[in-house]
Structures are given as structure tokens and as C-alpha cells.
Amino acid sequence: MARMKFLCDADRCIECNACVTACKNEHEVPWGMNRRRVVTINDGKPGERSISMACMHCTDAPCAAVCPVNCFYTTADAVVLHSKDLCIGCGYCFYACPFGAPQYPKVGNFGSRGKMDKCTFCAGGPETDFSKEEYEKYGANRLAEGKLPLCAEMCSTKSLLAGDGDVIAQIYKERVAKRGYGSGAWGWQTAYRESIAT
């Protein structure tokens, strides 16, 4: 069974934002909502690095642990999804998430934020695959089409990898071995309780 993961190779990311607009394009994400974004540290200084960030689909996801209405569920491929029908927009998951993934259409406290939205690993939601409802609430379901998340597929430098965790770890390992450096699989310890030995 595949365990789906994201891996952003910070030594390759150039903050081109293709992942961000690919996501907008694929799911018609409205203005102001960002399922994915690129974060740059040491901006403009030596050691500047960028990392593309979205829901990491954590093992034992903290969002699910704090959700008062239990709207989260994990698919067989270990993708963390949620039901917008159940979500009450309380915002707990936003506080729990180590990656700042949950997004809300409105600003406000507790129930006034609107239904939470986040990266689905391009895997839709609880509705029937390819149904109108699924697309309206969660966006495209590429995984069911046999495709991987578009952000990673379109990444300009193949920095953002998505897919079976073992496979992308292997790709990353070989890359690091070949080039002789690697700042590590960023966020993996937090999300997956493991790192990639290189």
C-alpha cells in the first residue's frame, strides 16, 4: 500500500510559485485562499532557501486529533481529507497544524470563519469520485484519475515531489548522493516522524 507524501527539496526550490498557481488552476481556488504557498527564509541574504508548503498529510494528523466534530479522515493512501459538511469552521485545526495548512474563507472567530479548506493531495473528498459535489467542495480528484498532485507534476525544477513516500525518499536520497549535499527532507520529522538518511 502506498503511503502518499510530499517532499520539497529546498536545494532545488527557486520560489517560482508554479505549485501555487497550478493548484489555483486545477481546483479553481478563489482569491485569498492558498492551499499551497512558498515560504522563503533568509530572504535576500546568503543562505536564502525556499520551501513549498501545504498540508503534509501527517501521520497521526494533529488536525484530526483536535477536531471537535471529527471531520477528518485518512484514506487508504494515507491522504488526510476532511468533510466540509461536518466542518464547523472552529479553527482548532489551524492552531494544531504545524504547517499552517488550513485556510478559511472568512476572517473571524470560531464558527464565523466558514468551512475549512486545505490541500487534498488532489484526491477530492468524501463525495463520489468525479461528482459535481466533490469538485465544488474539494476540487479535482487527480489521484482517482491515476495522476499525482499537479503542483508537484508541474514543479519547474522537480523540487517538489509527491507520491509514494518510499519512492520519493529514494529519489531524494539518490539526488543527495549524486550532488553531495542536501538540507534534508524538510518537515518530514514533524509530519511523518521520520527523516531520510542520506
Binding site: M1, A2, M4, D11, I14, E15, C16, N17, A18, T21, A22, K24, N25, E26, H27, E28, P30, M33, D43, G44, K45, P46, E48, R49, D77, K84, G114, D117, E127, T128, D129, F130, S131, K132, Y135, E136, K137, G139, A140, A144, E145, G146, L148, L150, A152, E153, M154, S156, T157, K158, L161, A162, D164, D166, V167, Q170, I171, E174, K178, R179
Partner: protein, 975 residues
């Protein structure tokens, strides 16, 4: 609901219906995922093949939706990424990665990944409009063409044909660009230009004057072979993001040096193995500073110089003046650092030099480029894999549009403007040369370069006697060109007010529509984007790709070709201009235009890329190897992807294209080459004692693989073939064509005007390149600075250097006076540098392109960059009490007194002390005035902001008229 309902719904539900996938049949999915893992694991062990390949195997055949897939090329830079569009019921509903493209392998940047939005077009211009007493009014296409045509004829009668300026576009397809140039010729002017003027005109002039052709010598993918990459004046991580895939992988696999010299620690610099901070406008001292160490330590490639370079000793002499101390004084770079960089560049070969507008957009742009070429020549880094001048151009088809002569100095394909050039194209067009001549106000102007687009406003505003043509510019006819990309916008605003006619043909209104206080005589024509049209484009690597029409032009938009046809018809020369081009309704057939280009494009090897061959490449992309760009199988086996020019001979000759220019390791027939013998056979040099000697300009004892002539040789003519006894290889039909071209002296007919292609064919069959085997020129005699020298920017903070390194004297260039010297002198005398102490430079953001009107109208991109900003060093910000993110007021050295531009401050160490930088994509605010209300309703870009070119100043390259937006002065205060 969070997610908007869209047309995509149709596709998604039909997909489910087609394949019968329902929830609960999760097995399929898991099966796939398992297989995915296996396939990927297998591939991963082969090498560092990343995700693309992993997915490719799986993605193939899985696209079972009802949508049709169409292929086009991304319009936003010159990398040439394949865009795969899913079209359902005539609507572009989704984008998929184009895995099979040997250029981008599925990847995009922010712009490419958001490009579908361009044809949804919330903010597109919907129908033709004109200004009626200051109000935008909808009109029909018929009215528009009739009124515009009548006004053009009126101006022609009153002020002459030269008073109409045809400003074309790098967004045209090759066919559009060629047609636009032909249109200007039939109208009777050489005032025909496009964006290349403001991006790489100096590259083209500098490079072509060194070794023959004005283009990137290698390619984006070939940079994978480099051991040292030196970036001097380029930030591809933002401007050409997908190229970084190849650059970074090359860096990783070869453990290559990745050296970035730039005034900013750019996003590219963030990945550098070494970053060198330089002062804007000091590229020549940097290069000479490197050469100083190279010559001193004997790191130069002596054999290469001896065999293939003319005039390196003259450079050696000049370089002696650029000691490490002097270079540090000019550039700020320590001698030891440059020595280190020079050693790496000279020793860790193959090395390549990468540049873009940081080098070209200067008053010394051509000289900068020349110096770069000289560094490559001195270290023997031209003509092989991993080497060369990797010139990253800006738009999808800026290389093609340049080649096809949207240029004030030449007809298509660099034939120039002299009578033989006009006669050649008259033969191709089957046109009466004498008739063409009558189209011009004065036959002499037919052979005189036009006015550069950088100076259209000067040609409008200067006194009539200062503009060396019949009258001032009275009409700007702008197709696909921003208005805020040209410097000195306050002048442009004034000039716009005085034009008789302004026509803007563009998918969006652009700055032209709102700048200046026009009340009448202004027309906006809605034009289809590249995605709504079909045709070929040439990427920076000289490879041609065919784009399919993804959807029909939206709203009332029309194709560029159709607009030109309608106008030619109105102006009365359509029958002549399109005599060999089929027209369907009012739409000229793109394939026919490319065939006409093929029939005339011998000089640059645009003769072999027939529409059929190019389309076959697009259809069989997966047959091409990414690393070599060569097809290893299939119907195009042996061809290089996109038949990079020169692609010699007729299409039937099946030349594979030339992936690397001047590569002597391949025979000509297989894509090899030599430096071009373009500058004569020998040169008479003056010696110190007053005598002269003749020096050969032909290759010295070197030649390309399989050449039957084992030495340098001149370009081929029928006469040369006869001397070699090779003329007997010509067929009778070929000879007949040659004799017809020049019945009196057929021997003078050269390879570039022989319409039969026979001379090329025979030369190549004997292993020789048609253009001759010459030396590259380190000394480019004939140019204003034959040996490049440092010249301070017109507006420099280092006034003490101006005396030693002044700009060139005032002169008349391109029908206009260039008074740069006077401007520089006056600035020094008036102490401008004290009032405006900060250097102002400009550049590109990844989210936007060019003038930015199109991309700032794209909601997915606009959201990411919502404000015009200026980068300022923390020290300079502290001096001025400026906080990060706060509003600031910026004034330029030439702005009207009391006027300022309002933008946000980005306080960052990215720029050094004393340097500021802004992006150049913004417009819609003009000296604090918000012009949103001046756009036609609903067609205003989402994001507006001040244009950097409101701040930029005087300064023009003497060879091309290039502007100076990269090094000028400004002052900033907190708002």
C-alpha cells in the same frame, strides 16, 4: 461555497461516466499506486531521474476524459515550455503537464501553470473600441478597420509613409512577425520594430559582430554539460524558471561552479556556489578584470585563439589597463575574488556564460556583449557542449520575431536594407522591386534604418528638422507591445498627447490606452492570445515549435494575421502582399506563410523547417532525448528537436538542425558549423611605423569534421563553386534558378540569395558550411567601440570616474540625435548625483512578464504580487526613516520637478548599500495618479502600480538605440 463551480464540471462528470469509475471501486486506484511504486523504483535506480519520468509511465493512457488535448507553447518566456490544454466543448477546461516535451518535461513556472486564465479573460478587451471625446465607445470591426485605414491614408498624404510607426511584437508567431515586417515594407517604411529593441538588440548586434549570428550558441538543455556556469546580468530563477531545472541538475551532476555576478543577491544567486556583488553598469571592468588574471597567468586557450580568433592582441593591450586595483575601484569587487572566478572559468571547462537584460540594457550594451564573447573566445569556450554564450531571451518568440526582421535595420532574416536585400525579398514575394520603391517617401529611406522603438517619443516631440525623415511620427500602430517598457515615460505621455492616431491591437488595453491625455483618434482592437491562434515560434535555443489553436479567439478578438490582412485589404495592397499565401475568409493560412519564409530564409537556415516537419516534431516529442535534443527513433530520427536554425537546404534536404552553433566536431550535414566568414576575407591593418599589412580573417588551419577544404574558406557563391570545380554538382534546374537571379553575372550569386538552395546543398555535400569558415572577431572593427572599454552610465553616482570613462560623444543615430555625452556632462556639472544619490536598477518578477498588463490581469498571478515596490538596503532605509512595507515616494533624475512615484518599500540586504531595485511590470499609476478609471470598463488589470520607467532616464546604445533602465539614479523618501 469555497470552490467556484466551473465548466470543468462537464469534463469531470463525463470522465466518470466514460470509465464508469464510482466510489467504492478503490481497487483501481490502489492498483495504480502499487504499480506506480514499482515503476518509479525501477527508474529511480537508473539515475537521478526525478518525478517526471516516474509519473510519465503512468500518466500515458490514463487520460480518458472526454476532453481533447491540444499542444501549444507557453507565451511567457523563451524557454519554450509545452502547454497541454484540455478542451471540452470549445472551452479550455484544464492544463496537464506536457511530459513528452524534451524542453520542460511537464514543468512550468507560476505563469505557465496559470496560463489557462489568459483565455478565460475576465479582464480581456472584448470588442473594438475608440475614444470619443475622452470616452471609450464600442465600435464594430468594420468601422474600426475603415476608420483606421482612412486615417492612415490621411497621415500618409499629409506627412508621408514614414510618419506611421509599426510597433510589432515578440508575442507574434513567426508568421505574424514576418507578416508584420512585410506589411511595413508594403506600406513603405523601415519604422518597424518590436521588443527585441529593448531586450536583446545589443546581444544580437554584439554576438553577430563577433562570430556571425545573433543568437544563443547552445541551449538551455545543453547547459547540463557545463562545469562552470557564470551568470553575468541574468536572473533566470525568476525570469526563466524552467531553465533552472537544467541548470540545477547540471550543477548537481557535474558538481559545477555556479557563479552569479549581479548587483542583487538574486533568487539565482541563492543557489550559487559563489556570489559576486557588482555595481550596476560595470560589466566590462568585471570581464577585463577576469581577463587580466587569465592573460597574466597564461590560462587562455592559445591554440583556439591562434586558429579561430582575430584581434585578441588588441584586447590584451586594453586589458592591461584593468589592474585588480583599478577594477576594484570601478566595480567594488576585490581583486582576489575575481582572480578566483577567473581561474574557475578558465580551468574548470567547459564553461558557459549566461546573460539576459542585466548586460544588454545599457548605453554600453553592445560593448558588454562583445566583452562577454571575448571572454569566451579567450578561454576557448565556444563551439562545443557545455560552452558558449547562453543568451536567455525574454518572450516565447522574441528570437523568431528578431530573425524575421521586426527590426529597423533589416528585412527578414538579417538581409539588411541595402538594394540586394530588397531585390532578394522582391524575388521571394514575386513583387516588382520598382513598385516597392515607390511606396517609400524617398527611395533613400528604403535603405536607411528606421527609428528605434526606444525613441518613438523623441521622434514625435523633437523639432521636425532634427528627425531625418519626411516628418515626425504621427501615428503609433502598436500590436502586442507594452507602453511602460520604454524608458522616460513622462516624455511618452507628452508624445502620446500629440499623436494624430494611436492604434493598440492587444488582448488587453495596455498602458498605451491610459497614458497621456488623449480624447480622440485612439483605437483599441481586441486580439487573440497565442493560444487562440496557430503557428510556429522559435525559443531561445533557436528551435522552432508549432502551436495548435487551443480555442477559437474569445469574445470579438481576432487573430493577428487576420487583422493585418483586413488592413492590407483596406489599404489596397492585400492582393500583392498575399499573392502566394492562401487566405481562408479573411484569415491567412499560417502554413503558407511559413512556406514563404522557407523559400526566402537561406541566410539564417530558416529554409528547412517546413510546417510538416515541425508539426511532426510536436506530434512525436517523446522520440527526442532531453540531453541531446536528438530523436533516437520514429519518423524524425536523427533530427534535433525543433530543427534549431540554421536548418540548411530545402525541407527535402532533411538537415537535422544545428543544436550548437560553430561546433566543428560535427559535419555540417549533421548540424556542425564554423565561425562565419562574415567580415571579409582579409583586413588591412595599420602598423605603428605607418606601413600596412594584410591579415587573413579566415580560419587558420582548422575546419569542421568531414570538410573537404582543410582550412578557412570564404562564403560560397557560384563563382567559388566554379573555382573548386564543384559547380558540376548543381542540377540543371538549380543552375537555371541561379542564372535567373543574376543573368549578367551569375557567379556573384551567393548561398544566401540562391532560391534553388543548390549552392548550399553542394557546399554541404562537400562538408563545407555555406557561409564560409572564418575567424571570430575579438576586435570588431567598424563598431563604435571595436575594443570594448568601460564607460560610466550617463547618470552615475561615481562622478569622479566620468572624466576617465566618459560615455561616447554626441552623434546622430537612427535618424535622431543621441546627446548622451551632453546629458552626462550636464548631470555631473549640476551635481545630480548629490540630489539623487541612489542607483536605480530594474528587473523581472517570476509572476509577471514584460509590461505586465496581461499577467497583472490574471487573478492567479495578480494575487501573488499586489504592490509595486522598491528594494532598498537597510542602511539606506535607516538613513531615510523608511520602514519595511511602508509607502515611499521615489523621484527620478529627469522627472518633472515636484513629481514623485508612490510605491512600497522592501527593505532588504538583497541590494547593496547605495543601490535600489524595482520590478518593471507595473503600470496604471502615473506619478501618484491612479489611472484605473481611464481603462475601458472591465478591462482594467487587477493590479496597478507605478512604472519604473517613469523614473528612468536618457541613455542609448550607439549601435542599436538600446535604452538604459538598469543603471540610473533616484532619491527616496518616506511617504
Amino acid at each position: 461555497m469555497l470552490i467556484k463551480r466551473t465548466e470543468r464540471q462537464a469534463r469531470r462528470s463525463s470522465l466518470a461516466a466514460t470509465v464508469g469509475i464510482q466510489s467504492g471501486i478503490g481497487l483501481d486506484r490502489r492498483t495504480f499506486l502499487r504499480r506506480s511504486g514499482l515503476v518509479a523504483g525501477g527508474l529511480a535506480t537508473i539515475g537521478a531521474l526525478p518525478l517526471a519520468s516516474v509519473q510519465k509511465a503512468e500518466a500515458a493512457g490514463t487520460n480518458v476524459s472526454g476532453a481533447t488535448i491540444r499542444k501549444n507553447i507557453c507565451t511567457h518566456c523563451s524557454v519554450g515550455c509545452t502547454v497541454l490544454a484540455e478542451v471540452s466543448n470549445g472551452v479550455w477546461v484544464g492544463q496537464e503537464p506536457g511530459w513528452e516535451s524534451p524542453i520542460n518535461r511537464g514543468s512550468h513556472c507560476a505563469k505557465g501553470a496559470a496560463t489557462r486564465e489568459l483565455v478565460h479573460g475576465d479582464r480581456r478587451l472584448r470588442y473594438p473600441m475608440k475614444l470619443v471625446n475622452g470616452q471609450w465607445t464600442r465600435i464594430s470591426w468594420e468601422t474600426a478597420i475603415n476608420e483606421i485605414g482612412d486615417k492612415l491614408m490621411e497621415i500618409r498624404k499629409k506627412s508621408g509613409a514614414e510618419s506611421v510607426y509599426w510597433l510589432g511584437s515578440a508575442k507574434f508567431t513567426n508568421e505574424g512577425a514576418y507578416l508584420n515586417r512585410k506589411f511595413a515594407a508594403y506600406w513603405g517604411t523601415n519604422n518597424s520594430d518590436h521588443q527585441a529593441r529593448i531586450c536583446h538588440s545589443t546581444t544580437v548586434a554584439g554576438v553577430a559582430n563577433t562570430w556571425g549570428y545573433g543568437a544563443m550558441t547552445n541551449s538551455y538543455t545543453d547547459i547540463r554539460n557545463s562545469k562552470t556556469l557564470l551568470f553575468l546580468g541574468g536572473n533566470p530563477a525568476e525570469a526563466h524558471p524552467v531553465s533552472l531545472q537544467h541548470l540545477l541538475e547540471g550543477k548537481e551532476l557535474n558538481r559545477a561552479n555556479f557563479i552569479v555576478c549581479d548587483p542583487r543577491m538574486t533568487r539565482t544567486g541563492a543557489h550559487a556556489t559563489e556570489y559576486v556583488r557588482i555595481r550596476p553598469g560595470t560589466d566590462i571592468p568585471i570581464i577585463y578584470g577576469m581577463l587580466w588574471h587569465i592573460f597574466k597567468n597564461g590560462w587562455e586557450d592559445k591554440q583556439f585563439i591562434e586558429q579561430r580568433v582575430y584581434g585578441m592582441d588588441d584586447i590584451r593591450k586594453e586589458v592591461e589597463k584593468y589592474t585588480p586595483e583599478e577594477v576594484e575601484r570601478i566595480t567594488g569587487v576585490p581583486g582576489a575574488q575575481l582572480k578566483h572566478v577567473a581561474e574557475k572559468f578558465a580551468k574548470d571547462r567547459p564553461s558557459c556564460l549566461i546573460w539576459a537584460m542585466g548586460q544588454t540594457q545599457h548605453t554600453v550594451g553592445t560593448a558588454n556583449v562583445r566583452a562577454s564573447c571575448i571572454l569566451l573566445l579567450a578561454t576557448g569556450n565556444v563551439g562545443g557542449p557545455g560552452m558558449g554564450a547562453n543568451i536567455f531571451r525574454g518572450h516565447t518568440n522574441v528570437q523568431g520575431a528578431t530573425d524575421l526582421g521586426l527590426d529597423i535595420v533589416t528585412l527578414p532574416l538579417y538581409y539588411g536594407l541595402a538594394e540586394p536585400a530588397w531585390r532578394h525579398w522582391s524575388r521571394v514575394w514575386e513583387e516588382d522591386f520598382e513598385w516597392l520603391k515607390t511606396r517609400f517617401d524617398d527611395p533613400k529611406l528604403m535603405n536607411t534604418p528606421g527609428i528605434p522603438s526606444t525613441r518613438w517619443h523623441d521622434a514625435t516631440l523633437l523639432a521636425k528638422d532634427q528627425v531625418a525623415q519626411t516628418d515626425n511620427i504621427k501615428c503609433m500602430f502598436v500590436m502586442g507591445h507594452g507602453g511602460n517598457t520604454v524608458t522616460r515615460m513622462p516624455e511618452a505621455a507628452k508624445a502620446l498627447a500629440s499623436l494624430d492616431l494611436l492604434v493598440v491591437a492587444d488582448p488587453v488595453p495596455t498602458t498605451w490606452a491610459v497614458l497621456g491625455d488623449r480624447k480622440d483618434g485612439t483605437y483599441l482592437l481586441p486580439v487573440a492570445t497565442s493560444y487562440e491562434t496557430e503557428g510556429s515560434r522559435v525559443a531561445s535555443n533557436r528551435a522552432m515549435q508549432w502551436g495548435e489553436q487551443i480555442v477559437k479567439p474569445i469574445f470579438e478578438s481576432k487573430d493577428d494575421l487576420e487583422i493585418m490582412y483586413l488592413l492590407a485589404k483596406k489599404l489596397g495592397f492585400a492582393d500583392r502582399m498575399f499573392r502566394n499565401i492562401k487566405v481562408n475568409g479573411n484569415l491567412p493560412v499560417a502554413e503558407d506563410i511559413l512556406r514563404e519564409i522557407n523559400r526566402g530564409g537561406w541566410s539564417t537556415g530558416y529554409c528547412g523547417q517546413s510546417p510538416e516537419r515541425i508539426k511532426s516534431h510536436m506530434a512525436h516529442q517523446s522520440d527526442f532525448d532531453m540531453r541531446t535534443q536528438k530523436a533516437t527513433t520514429g519518423p524524425n530520427k536523427g533530427d534535433y528537436y525543433g530543427l534549431p536554425w540554421p536548418c540548411w537546404g530545402s525541407p527535402a534536404f532533411r538537415h537535422p538542425g544545428t543544436p550548437l552553433l560553430y561546433n566543428t566536431n560535427l559535419s555540417i550535414k549533421e548540424g556542425g558549423g564554423t565561425f562565419r566568414a562574415r567580415f571579409g576575407v582579409e583586413r588591412e591593418e595599420k602598423l605603428p611605423d605607418g606601413t600596412t599589412r594584410k591579415v587573413s580573417l579566415l580560419g587558420n588551419g582548422y575546419y569542421s569534421k568531414d570538410s573537404e577544404i582543410k582550412d578557412g574558406y570564404p562564403e560560397f557563391t557560384l563563382g567559388v563553386l566554379k573555382k573548386l570545380g564543384w559547380d558540376k554538382d548543381l542540377t540543371e534546374a538549380e543552375l537555371a534558378v541561379i542564372n535567373k537571379i543574376n543573368p549578367t553575372t551569375p557567379d556573384a550569386v551567393s548561398w544566401s540569395i540562391d532560391l534553388s538552395g543548390g549552392i548550399q546543398r553542394v557546399a554541404i555535400e562537400h562538408g563545407c558550411i555555406p557561409y564560409g569558415n572564418g575567424k571570430a572577431r575579438a576586435n570588431a572593427f567598424g563598431l563604435p567601440d571595436a575594443i570594448p572599454v568601460h564607460r560610466e552610465p550617463i547618470y552615475t553616482p561615481r562622478v569622479e570616474l566620468v572624466e576617465k570613462y566618459p560615455t561616447l560623444p554626441d552623434a546622430k543615430q537612427f535618424r535622431l540625435p543621441n546627446i548622451g555625452f551632453t546629458v552626462q556632462k550636464t548631470a555631473v556639472e549640476k551635481g545630480i548625483a548629490k540630489q539623487f544619490p541612489l542607483i536605480l536598477s530594474s528587473g523581472r518578477l517570476v509572476e509577471y512578464e514584460g509590461g505586465g498588463e496581461e499577467t497583472r490581469s490574471n487573478k492567479w498571478l495578480a494575487e501573488l504580487q499586489q504592490d509595486m515596490f522598491i528594494e532598498i538596503n537597510p542602511a539606506d532605509a535607516a538613513d531615510r526613516g523608511i520602514k519595511d512595507g511602508a509607502w515611499v515616494l521615489v523621484s527620478g533624475a529627469e522627472m518633472p520637478s515636484g513629481k514623485v512615484c508612490r510605491m512600497k518599500a522592501l527593505v532588504t540586504e538583497r541590494v547593496g548599500k547605495g543601490v535600489t531595485w524595482t520590478p518593471f511590470h507595473f503600470a496604471g499609476w502615473f506619478m501618484t495618479e491612479d489611472q484605473r478609471g481611464k481603462y475601458p470598463k472591465g478591462a482594467d488589470p487587477i493590479v496597478l502600480g507605478e512604472s519604473v520607467n517613469t523614473l528612468t532616464t536618457y541613455g542609448y546604445d550607439p549601435v542599436t538605440g538600446m535604452q538604459e533602465p538598469k543603471a540610473t539614479l533616484c532619491q527616496i523618501r518616506a511617504a
